[in-house]
Symmetry: C2
Subunit: 230 residues, 2 copies
DNA sequence: TGTACATCAGTGAACGCGCGTTCACTGATGTAC
DNA sequence: TGTACATCAGTGAACGCGCGTTCACTGATGTAC
């Protein structure tokens, strides 16, 4: 049961994070400013130490939140599609992924861009959070493989030596080797487009970045051997 | 003719930039510190104003340098391959591109990662520099197309509507539409792998990132319709 | 070849600013009997 | 139901630090005649 105090406490923590996110959106991820947060809340800087032991802790929580929100967005998108439409599910997940990134540019930068100067993310925390994103994509591919909707094309059937290292880690996701390879290769591909867009480097020849992304994803799925419904 | 004074001046500017790059390598792109540069040079902070009017100007020059060095690396790699081996040239260019990025992680981050807080790159300067990189790749593709080594596969022959915007900009590079499309799509793909590697997010299943990159590039070239020599 | 002047590199003090964090504290809110 | 005590949110002063930039200046190096 949640006490009144706990509710107020959680609300205060949320307010702090909301302001921190606004700061990032305006000035970049490195612009998270303790004293300025306090100012905006109408409170002394010391009061914030009731909620976060240090600025580092606040940033860590923002990172974990971002990873989770990103995974939630992909998952929600994926779950709105009929279970047997594997290609549709994957497309939805990947579009949900991109949409979240575009809607929360600085949160995405916080995760995948430059580390904040002087800040070092605790390894285990962020790795755990990052795994969830990969796990969602890989789960769809695995289901598609078992249902026969994913028939990996020749090039994907035998992962290159470079990726054989995976044997050591395979249990991490508990899926077939092909699926893991397709997952990693595919993820790298969509990551490139999103990073270019988020950081404003998409070549000016691309007009509609959302449509470009969708086109590339569909092309990729076809090329990898995932059957599309008509 | 270069006077003694000009030589000394250029040497001093180089020293400043070298120290700034070391700072980035150690603490990230945002860690460029005017006073600390002066300290390391054994000089007062004010002395540096003889060479750069402001910290912003210094950063801008670092960005331009990085873009040029990156393009130089790709070009040099490409030029060491026989002119008629188009696939070999492209592979060399792309591997040179990645290698430079890996060897100069923070310079690459400076270009393609988070903007430095409070710093705003002058648009025209950086755009001009970025264009060179794209131009090099696209030139190889165009030559390959004309020589018949590049026979775009079906999926690439007709760029999607999303990219038709290019008509407005096509003259920028003066190449065929297919080439431009292949160039942009391909660039996004390699960009994803490099960004993941540079920022330390390559999934741990990938053992040898260089081999993985090479494998993906070769696969991509085959898939796009660029004939490989045996 | 020597002199007069202009150009340039670098100094040193100071400005104004803001940061994250510590410490000892006050006063309000909750809890146990 | 009221009282005694513990818990918690928040204050206010201060610490130690470092930043980029300005200003008026000195002394060395180059240039023109």
């Amino acid at each position: 049961m949640v006490t009144r105090r706990e509710r107020l406490r959680d609300a205060a923590k949320e307010e702090i994070k909301t302001i921190a996110r606004a700061q990032m959106a305006e000035q970049g991820t490195a612009a998270i400013n303790w004293r300025e947060i306090a100012r905006q809340m109408g409170v002394t800087p010391t009061a914030l130490y009731r909620y976060y032991a240090t600025r580092e802790d606040l940033i860590t929580e923002l990172i974990v939140d971002a990873f989770n929100a990103l995974a939630d967005a992909a998952l929600a998108a994926e779950q709105s599609v009929s279970r047997e439409d594997y290609a549709g599910r994957l497309l939805a997940a990947l579009e949900g992924y991109r949409q979240w990134a575009v809607d929360h540019k600085t949160d995405f930068q916080l995760i995948y861009g430059n580390p904040i100067p002087g800040y070092h993310a605790p390894f285990d925390v962020t790795v755990q959070a990052a795994r969830r994103n990969m796990a969602i994509l890989v789960a769809i591919l695995q289901a598609a493989l078992q249902a026969g909707a994913l028939k990996p094309t020749a090039a994907y059937q035998h992962p290159p030596d470079a990726i054989l290292e995976q044997f050591r880690h395979q249990h991490d996701y508990g899926v077939d080797q092909v699926v893991l390879y397709i997952g990693v290769a595919g993820w790298a591909r969509i990551h490139g487009m999103i990073m270019l867009e988020i950081f404003g480097h998409t070549p000016p020849v691309v007009g509609d970045t959302a449509a470009f992304y969708r086109h590339e994803v569909l092309h990729m799925m076809r090329e990898m051997g995932l059957t599309l419904r008509q």
